[in-house]
Amino acid sequence: SQKIEQNSEALNIQEGKTATLTCNYTNYSPAYLQWYRQDPGRGPVFLLLIRENEKEKRKERLKVTFDTTLKQSLFHITASQPADSATYLCAPQGAGGTSYGKLTFGQGTILTVHP
């Protein structure tokens, strides 16, 4: 069965450092992979989407990589700030058919950035 694992439940880093979050998947061939941010008691907020033919994507201080051979995506936040503290969710997604529109999320990684 499809399985998504995010590297650890919690990641603590110092302000200004780069946070790196990992998303591994098995029994899956996603055409896209999305990353979301979720604050306590709130719904997830979309951050970035990367397609299978893209190796890397950037948005301001965020960078996502997608390695379909390793079945892994890395999510980086550079120059991290305490305001980046949140839970980050990855969601690999197939293209069309029964996968369309049906996001399957990892369990999330809780990131805490200390001042």
Binding site: I4, E9, A31, Y32, Q34, Y36, G41, R42, G43, P44, V45, F46, L49, R51, L89, A91, Q93, A95, G96, T98, Y100, G101, K102, L103, T104, F105, G106, Q107, G108
Partner: protein, 114 residues
């Protein structure tokens, strides 16, 4: 431009009761998906509605049912509530025509079953 809205914010029910949660999608969106998120877990897909029909369904029992109205708003109904149904219920909207669509989530309804 209003985002996704959900009501109520919080709800407390007892085992065996029935509950209805409501969602209005983001303006311009025609597709609504529902997710259940238990504490400490990622959201789990329940089902998706488009053109007033259920298009996709996750691994949830028939006690979970839904409806989409002509204005694209949606309801999630859960019958015969169990303690394990306690969770944050999230509604997400998107455009059906967009492959690899990003989904816009509402703030959720926190359901507690006693």
């Amino acid at each position: 431009d209003a985002g996704v809205t959900q009501s109520p914010t919080h709800l407390i029910k007892t085992r065996g009761q029935q509950v209805t949660l409501r969602c209005s999608p983001k303006s311009g969106h025609d597709t609504v998906s529902w997710y259940q998120q238990a504490l400490g877990q990622g959201p789990q897909f329940i089902f998706q509605y488009y053109e007033e029909e259920e298009r996709q369904r996750g691994n949830f029992p028939d006690r979970f049912s839904g409806h989409q109205f002509p204005n694209y708003s949606s309801e999630l109904n859960v019958n015969a509530l169990l303690l394990g149904d306690s969770a944050l219920y999230l509604c997400a909207s998107s455009l059906f025509a967009d492959q690899g669509d990003t989904q816009y989530f509402g703030p959720g309804t926190r359901l507690t079953v006693l």
